[in-house]
Symmetry: C2
Subunit: 405 residues, 2 copies
């Protein structure tokens, strides 16, 4: 009952006092839910009803893992120490069952609809809806001949899309593993980030396409992955099959559909791709296999292919990415932006791949941006900051600043 | 342990045999989740991991409530009897904690992100994505002076919206109590229903606006509703405040925003409103208070205002709805369609309001459509059928068949 004592310590010192003193329902809560609550010191209070349970634990994926304490009313409660800003996924463990908190909005993460709590970042509002023109997010369905299925994607259109009648460059922006195409809007607030950046004048109005990162070729049957460990050979085999299918779906089905459906500038000079974690790895695979289609590349806490992320070694630029990084001058003519980023508080194994790539790129004199998000983990606050730094750098090259046709 | 015996009975007879024999993962499952499963006899198999729990129950909101049986691997399982077609909400009770099933997509219902399982209806595909032109669903944010907040809504645009350049009539379509603006797309498949109806030629291309049905006037603080019983005086007071705020938001903020943002025909002849359950009650309140704005009205398993639904008495048409139903001839000039519907398997207390209204309308010789969905409960299959019957009747009146300007 060690955890019980920890929870007791947390609770007895300040829980109820703080509830009356500065705790407010989190902005990430479901309709009218009073819990989770957050206070001005970024402490989080969770409350969960389980009257007959014998043990209830609160596990933040990147944060505290603590036992909750049973109250007389059948609710279990706990208050965390101060947490980093941003949206933190968590799970409640009820007598061995890992479940979501009914008080939270459901965010798709970890291959399920997970709970998360939004801890505000003091003095920061770049991802809040503000009194500026708002773009729209459209849901689209396109039929993919690669997968032989109807696929769902989200498309952000800049605020002036319906009135300006011009053509726009396109950023393809991918979610992480276990998440889906809703992530960049629901968790990432990408639409509000772009609304605010565009209103501020620093960023070119652009279309953002958020595709579902899981694709299977027609006829391929996904094996039952329950019990398959993340990163295991079986897992990697399925991932590689899916990444190949995704690459074909993006280049053969999605891009043609987008260019047909929206007023895009349909060339490589006006097409970017970025993604987080798994989406960053997909970005590097798709873009370096298709430099005829893309000229801006971003890897947010993920880049360089699956193997590179795990090898612990610096990539050999002479051979990596089809040799696209072998010669700085040639590279610079083809790629207008190579951007990689990582949170300083991410686990070492996650940082290693990015840092090795950064070091190799420096060694090879390949121009790139390496961004470190201070104090954030492998979580959405890192990726919101990434997008805020990345987006203003897009479509600004001298050879593509000509007015969209 | 009565429920335990029921579960045992269900399981011992066919559970594992059926799993190998015709059970498939439900279309409503989360990414790659193998359970829930459904077989061709509409039986549902649920599997839930809770290794240390002492009791796990499966409760369908409108369906079986059974104990689950613990297996040696720490999973609890149960297979239901054959169920009605459609999407069925359910909750797992783990030692008193009511939680969602990680295997299910999360649908917003019951004021939380709930689980549900889709049971196919044999021979029916009107709500499936088919090889027809697909409309888009747009997310919009509008600033409401009523609520002094940014509000989120979904807008379905017909397949030819971007190419045809004409103006379209608009249907405002509301979700039920405890649901939100995502319900008609996620649960209801309204976009696919309209795609298919429009492709079949029976239904006029139209815009559908799905607003969030919860509004609070600027400055109003929503009281903590936890522990407040559905339908209690406190509950009704809050609901009435919110319905008034919603009415003002729709008529003063949303409609002007929609007419400014999209190519609508902005008059009463080309504006309809419908909703399910709470949304039907809201529809009757909003439309009969504003017959200057609407001429088509639909109540799906909900109509006639909150009080009428509960009184058990037939409404007095001379006084109800501002007297709009007092005279058939006057009514028919103003309202082109009054449509009410209910599922034959809905609870009596839910059917009573609709049936009383239907009887009163008949007595008063008020032309209307009364639709009964055979064999379905207060659930989404009823409302999908409602929309399929309702939508083709819209915007067909002789006085509004002129080409949209």
């Amino acid at each position: 009952m060690k955890g019980y004592a920890i929870a007791l310590l947390l609770l007895s010192s300040h829980c109820y006092a703080q509830t009356a003193d500065g705790f407010h329902p989190a902005s990430s809560n479901a309709l009218d839910a009073q819990y989770p609550k957050v206070d001005s010191n970024s402490r989080v209070e969770i409350r969960f009803k389980a009257p007959d349970a014998s043990k209830v634990k609160l596990n933040f994926w990147s944060g505290p893992k603590v036992d909750m304490e049973k109250q007389a009313d059948g609710f279990w409660t706990v208050t965390t120490p101060p947490m980093a800003p941003g949206l933190h996924y968590y799970v409640i463990n009820v007598d061995g069952a890992e479940v979501s908190d009914p008080g939270s909005t459901a965010y798709f993460g970890g291959s399920k609809w997970a709970s998360a709590v939004e801890v505000p970042e003091a003095g920061v509002d770049y991802y809040q809806p503000k009194d500026v023109p708002h773009g729209q997010v459209r849901e689209i369905w396109y039929h993919s001949s690669v997968t032989d299925s109807w696929r769902h994607a989200l498309v952000y259109l800049p605020p002036d899309y319906d009135s300006a009648k011009t053509r726009y460059p396109v950023l393809y922006l991918q979610h992480g593993g276990g998440e889906d195409e809703s992530g960049w809007i629901r968790q990432g607030k990408a639409n509000f980030i772009l609304d605010n950046l565009i209103a501020g004048g620093s960023t070119k109005p652009m279309i953002i396409v958020m595709a579902n990162g899981y694709a299977t070729r027609a006829g391929y049957v996904v094996p039952d992955m329950s019990g398959t460990a993340f990163g295991s050979p079986e897992f990697m085999k399925v991932m590689q099959e899916r990444m190949g299918a995704f690459e074909d779906d993006v280049t053969q089905a999605l891009i043609p559909f987008i260019d047909k459906t929206f007023r895009t500038v349909p060339d490589r000079e006006h097409r970017a791709m970025a993604g987080l974690s798994m989406g960053g790895m997909q970005t590097f695979q798709v873009t370096f296999d298709h430099l005829d289609l893309f000229s801006y590349i971003g890897g947010f806490s993920g880049a360089g292919g699956m193997m590179m992320m795990r090898s612990g070694e610096k990539p050999d630029l002479k051979t990596a990415f089809n040799g696209a990084l072998a010669d700085p001058a040639t590279f610079q003519k083809r790629v207008h932006l190579l951007w990689i980023g990582v949170g300083t508080n991410e686990p070492e194994r996650m940082k290693a791949g990015l840092e090795n790539l950064h070091a190799s790129l420096d060694d090879g004199k390949i121009q790139h941006v390496f961004y470190e998000s201070p104090g954030t983990d492998h979580e959405w606050q890192t990726w919101r900051r990434d997008l805020k730094d990345f987006a203003p750098r897009l479509f600004q090259s001298s050879n593509n600043t000509a007015a969209a046709r």
